[in-house]
């Protein structure tokens, strides 16, 4: 049951060209920094990345975009990223935009073994094109399919050797949802502890969903919009 691997390189060792990856995080908050670096290092290509955002030019998934490792992004908001925009306009990169709640729920659906879910998000818009619309109690809903990925790569605050995960603050976001949706799920954590050290009532992601875990290092945790009030 010990799921500990040595490091990010070991965790991603069998990720191959053309695979579908999920990457946790919202903006640059709660992203799997170590695994992204290892993916850049490994140079694996033609990836489909399911992630709420696409990082910035020089951080997060932006680093993989720089190396042209991504063939397709599936996101709700791709933000401000010049290289992303260039690749998109040149046709090197394909983008599928999905409402944020739909994206989250489609990941969750996979983790719950539900093949499809219903959401009103996008009804009557171009998002609905080609999708089944169904009326319940007078309201229209789109049927959206569960999302699976070859690998889900998430970042947690604490984790134990059995793969149980705890997230911190809004760095939780998509991480526990994607953790449930990976055929293989990799978790990098700020603090890795022995099984039995975490309170079983406080686990956000039960270890059954996690296949590999390691303690990350050198977290930069960049802030995208530093906003403060005066002392």
């Amino acid at each position: 049951m010990n799921k500990v691997v040595a490091n990010a390189a070991d965790a991603i060792r069998d990720i191959q060209d053309g695979m579908v990856l999920m990457l946790g995080g919202f903006g640059l908050c709660g992203i799997p920094e170590n695994c992204i670096s290892a993916l850049v290092e490994k140079g694996v290509k033609e990836l489909t990345c399911i992630s709420n955002n696409a990082g910035v030019d020089d951080f997060g998934i932006g680093l993989m975009l720089q190396k042209k490792q991504v063939r397709k992004m599936i996101s709700s908001y791709v933000g401000e990223n010049a290289e992303f925009e260039r690749q998109l306009l040149s046709g090197e990169l394909e983008v599928e935009l999905i409402p944020q709640g739909t994206l989250a729920t489609r990941c969750m659906a996979a983790g719950y073994g539900m093949p499809a879910i219903f959401t009103p998000a996008g009804v009557g818009t171009e998002v609905a094109i080609g999708k089944e619309v169904r009326n319940f109690n007078g309201k229209d809903y789109l049927m959206e399919y569960a999302f699976e990925a070859d690998f889900a790569i998430v970042k947690a605050w604490k984790g134990d050797t059995h793969g149980n995960l705890i997230f911190k603050d809004t760095a939780r976001n998509f991480n526990p949802l994607m953790a449930m949706a990976g055929k293989i799920t990799i978790a990098e954590v700020e603090e890795l502890v022995e099984a039995g050290s975490l309170d079983p009532n406080q686990i956000h992601t039960p270890g059954i969903y996690v296949h590999r875990i390691f303690q990350g290092k050198d977290y930069q945790k960049r802030i995208e919009q530093r906003t403060v009030r005066k002392n």
């Binding site: 709660g30 709640g101 959401t119 171009e126 809004t170």
Partner: protein, 218 residues
């Protein structure tokens, strides 16, 4: 005098009630938080996974793990709770959020809203906007009444790709407060010194004006 962005936010704050759970979009809606009366208890939801959003942190107290849906560093207030993005949109979809305030590029007189895409321009994505407009039980739109060319943004039908259909309940623009009714936009209040005629001229969609229209009180 048309309202400033701050005044639009201030007017929208008057729609709040104690005990409300509220989601404020990016832009003018965010400013609404500054006008919540001190004795009123309103809980702010941030769709990236927080109930009980507080003000920006003091300098030096920024936490990269604690941001809002606009990716700004924030704080929490007592009684807050964190959760994942699916539960966040789950509570929105289930109608648990009492009020959603959003910006818009266009609104139609049947309540359609367009605020995510301009054909020909780089598309950044809809983020959570489509989920919010499709699910919120009460949506107030904060917007300018006209575009920089002076053309009405309150239309018979949206010209831009829409974000959601028949969802906007109320609009607070720089010129007026309007309800969206089955008969179209219904003028409720006008900005101080702005005439009903000006609002009529600048509203392309169907507009209902009945009786005396009072000035907006801030």
């Amino acid at each position: 005098m048309s309202l400033t962005k701050e005044q639009i936010a201030q007017r929208i704050a008057k729609e709040l009630k104690s005990g409300y759970y509220v989601n404020l979009g990016i832009g003018i809606p965010t400013l609404v938080a500054n006008y919540i009366p001190k004795d009123m208890h309103v809980v702010l939801q941030s769709e990236n996974g927080l109930l009980g959003m507080g003000p920006f942190p003091y300098e030096g107290a920024e936490d990269p793990d604690l941001i809002n849906a606009g990716k700004q560093t924030i704080t929490t207030v007592p009684g807050s709770a964190f959760f994942d993005s699916a539960l966040s949109f789950g509570m929105i979809r289930a109608g648990k959020v009492d009020l959603t305030v959003l910006g818009a590029m266009e609104v139609s007189d049947s309540g359609d809203i367009a605020n995510w895409k301009i054909p020909g321009k780089m598309v950044k994505g809809m983020g959570g906007a489509m989920d919010l407009v499709a699910s919120a039980k009460n949506i107030i739109v904060a917007m300018m009444h006209t575009n920089p060319k002076g053309e009405s943004k309150l239309l018979p039908a949206c010209t831009l790709p829409i974000t959601g259909v028949r969802c906007v309940k109320k609009i607070v623009s720089d010129l007026a407060v309007l309800d969206v009714t089955p008969e179209g936009f219904k003028l409720l209040e006008r900005a101080p010194g702005v005439s009903v005629e000006e609002i009529v001229a600048k509203t392309a969609g169907k507009l209902v004006v009945e009786g005396e229209i009072p000035e907006i009180m801030l």
